[in-house]
């Protein structure tokens, strides 16, 4: 997994609550058996005017000029500003894969759906939960300042801008550590293989029908 330490980038505002994972990456793209290549179809139904299917040449499709990700002022954005319950719905990890493939590394929202939140960390994406008033303020800043950039520092757990803004954010220590180091969680768990085996031995006595 790619490490995340510090990032300065343009923030793009997606002003909608309850954005579900099917909106992030529509189901027809889930038929891929790969982990990569989902970026061009991120938010496909909102981003393009036609109906997308796998295998299409996305560069020739008509884009929806009203959709925020298509606006020139947000080109190259790596921080996504979002609303409540972002990532609800299906558990598809294709959603963080699509965001990451597109170039997004940080998502800021007042709340996230649990499974999506969890999936982000497995893919080098940093979801940040902030109080609603602060998210509102960031939406306003992005809206009124073209080219507005934020710096997200995971080491310090801060979000800053050039104008002196400074926001602290909270994060589980374990997740922070894995992200900072780009750790392979399976490897971490396998380091406890003996304990897993000991647990199994104990359970064989208590719930033998499961073994």
């Amino acid at each position: 997994m790619e490490k995340f330490t510090c990032l300065t980038a343009i923030a793009v505002p997606l002003d909608r609550a309850n954005v579900d994972t099917d909106a992030i990456i529509p189901k027809q793209f889930l038929k891929s058996i790969k982990r990569s290549g989902f970026g061009p179809n991120l938010f496909d139904e909102w981003r393009y005017l036609d109906h997308g299917e796998p295998g299409m040449d996305n560069s020739t499709r008509a884009v929806n000029p009203d959709f925020v990700l298509n606006q020139a002022r947000y080109a190259g954005a790596q921080i996504l500003l979002a609303r409540d319950n972002f990532g609800c719905g299906s558990s598809r990890e294709h959603a963080p894969w699509a965001l990451e493939d597109f170039g997004i590394r940080v998502i800021i929202a007042p709340s996230f759906a649990d499974i999506f939140y969890n999936n982000c960390f497995k893919n080098g994406l940093l979801p940040i939960v902030l109080p609603e008033e602060i998210v509102d303020k960031l939406f306003e800043m992005v809206d009124t300042n073209e080219g507005y950039q934020l710096t997200v520092d995971l080491e310090q757990q801060t979000i800053t801008d050039d104008g002196g803004l400074k926001i602290n954010f909270e994060l589980d220590e374990f997740r922070r550590h894995c992200l900072l180091e780009g750790l392979d969680e399976i490897g971490l768990t396998l380091a406890h293989a003996d304990e897993i085996r000991a647990y199994e031995e104990k359970q064989k006595q208590i719930t033998p029908w499961l073994f």
Binding site: R16, A17, N18, D20, D22, A23, P26, K27, Q28, L30, K31, S32, I33, K34, R35, E45, H51, P54, G55, R83, D84, N85, C88, G89, S90, S91, R92, E93, P96, S111, F112, A113, D114, I115, N118, N119, K122, N123, D172, E173, F174, H177, E185, I186, L188, T189, L190, H192, A193, E195, I196, Y199, E200, Q203, I206, T207, P208, W209, L210
Partner: protein, 471 residues
């Protein structure tokens, strides 16, 4: 020992170790696997040169992509075919039991687990699918995971997890006739909202829940995720044990006795504390129809589509406006005047034998209304299909003008050929009414099986209890 909730007991009995950072290593007894969220997990295993930790803990079946017609001809869509073939190959390579597309035991993953007794009380169960919460109906800790976690479980039989908070949703008293489990869960979601359970594990309890069959309980816990909770669960009781008894993978003989004794403890102790409690009166619950693009946008059959102007929260107000526009509805329209184009009876929420029976009871002796272009019945598994046919339900549906299909997810998410056309309005027994869920531009109204069948024969939404059985 202090009083524990059901969730506490499930958690504690599966904790392999506590880490210093507040997470735990949780042992996973069972993993269910389907074709959409597993290929990258198997690929990851191979790339890292790892083997499954406990092959027998896994059970696989293709469901999302499979066609519901003409099975013998295989899968027409080449990309869907690759995905299903990849599952077959991976299961063969790693030695994992799979019910392939042509196996009578194949079906929706959340239907076949309980049907086979692969889902048992007091276990931990995961699947790369958000509706894994379904299995919580067995007093099981069951939750959806992403593909990285599917791989993690394959490789280690464990997950690194942080414990959620405890939430109780209690439904007191008895449901009125004609009110089903689907109406209960929609009412709950309407009350607490789609994020109301975020960060919590929900236990559903109370007389109305305990009175439900296992099918009804699965409908309830299936939709816990629509209330934001990764896991929803219901205590083990006689109904649970009766249902599990004799299932293929259930313990037998002496082990059965031992298991029953063990399972009986999986309920919340008297005096245990919850972080949040919601209490509903069963008598107030009416048959529900969702009007918008989120399961929380639900109303009773005798109500009208709400007006955004009455909402004070600005983000919610905008959401309501967008939903009305997408759904092509006017505020103030009585829901029972809204005509439907398509009816879908199926999905892991409502495709079990009891659901088939409830829908057939309405369809019997009636005809699908002229304005309804398609009415699909998709049983949840091959075995349910077989049972329904034994009972003659297929004939009732076909005579009424419904199509009787092969098992799978079908129009619940429209990854196969079954999908809505733009602007088609569908009465659906599935669990999600998100934009485009059943096909781009399609408009979904979530209802119970009886309400869906009633909408099919009436041509519009109608209280199914108003339709008396036709002799």
């Amino acid at each position: 020992m202090s009083a524990k909730t059901l969730y506490d007991k499930l958690w504690d009995s599966h904790e392999v170790r506590k880490n210093d950072d507040g997470t735990s290593l949780l042992y996973i007894d069972r993993q269910l696997i389907h074709e959409v969220t597993s290929p990258q997990a198997f690929e990851g295993l191979r790339l890292a040169n790892r083997k499954p930790w406990k092959v027998s803990a896994n059970l696989a079946t293709p469901d999302h992509n499979v066609p519901t017609t003409n099975r013998s001809e295989g899968i027409e869509d080449p990309i869907s075919k690759i995905q299903v073939d990849t599952l077959d190959q991976n299961c063969e390579y790693f030695g994992i039991t799979e019910f392939k597309m042509d196996d009578i035991r194949q079906g929706i993953v959340h239907v076949i687990g309980p049907e086979q007794g692969a889902t048992l009380p007091a276990m931990t169960l995961v699947c790369g699918d958000s509706h894994t919460s379904t299995h919580g109906a067995f007093g099981t800790l069951a939750f959806g995971v992403g593909t990285s976690e599917v791989e993690h479980v394959l490789a280690t039989q464990c997950l690194i997890q942080k414990k959620s908070k405890n939430m109780l949703v209690r439904v007191d008293g008895q449901l009125k006739p004609g009110v089903t489990a689907k109406d209960v869960i929609l009412t709950i979601i309407g009350k607490i909202g789609t994020a109301g359970g975020t960060g919590y594990a929900i236990e559903f309890a109370g007389e109305a829940i305990q009175s439900l069959s296992m099918e009804g309980r699965m409908t309830i816990s299936n939709m816990a995720i629509e209330a934001g909770a990764r896991a929803g669960m219901i205590a083990v009781d006689d109904t649970t044990i009766e249902y599990v008894k004799g299932k293929t993978c259930a313990p037998k003989g002496e082990q059965w006795e031992m298991a029953v004794e063990y399972w009986r403890d999986f309920h919340t102790d008297e005096g245990a504390m919850f972080d949040k409690e919601v209490i509903l009166d069963a008598a107030c619950i009416q048959p529900q129809v969702t009007w918008g693009t989120s399961p929380e946008m639900t109303i009773a059959i005798n109500e009208s589509v709400p007006a955004p102007e009455q909402e004070t929260d600005p983000v919610k107000k905008e959401g309501m406006k967008a939903a009305l526009k997408y759904m092509g509805l006017e505020a103030g329209t009585p829901i029972n005047e809204i005509p439907v184009d398509v009816v879908f009876i199926g999905s892991c929420t409502n495709s079990r034998i009891e659901d088939m029976r409830a829908a057939a009871a309405i369809a019997r002796g009636r005809k699908v209304a002229g304005n309804v272009q398609q009415a699909l019945v998709v049983p949840g598994s091959g075995l349910i299909k077989q049972q329904a046919e034994k009972e003659g339900l297929d004939k009732i549906f076909i005579e009424a003008g419904f199509e009787w299909r092969e098992p799978g997810c079908s129009m619940c998410l429209a990854m196969n050929a079954d999908r809505l056309e733009p602007q088609q309005r569908c009465a659906s027994t599935s669990n999600r009414n998100f934009e485009g869920r059943q096909g781009q531009g399609g408009r979904t109204h979530l209802v119970s099986p009886a309400m869906a069948a009633a909408a099919a024969v009436a041509g519009h939404f109608i209280d199914s209890s108003k339709l008396k059985p036709v002799a």
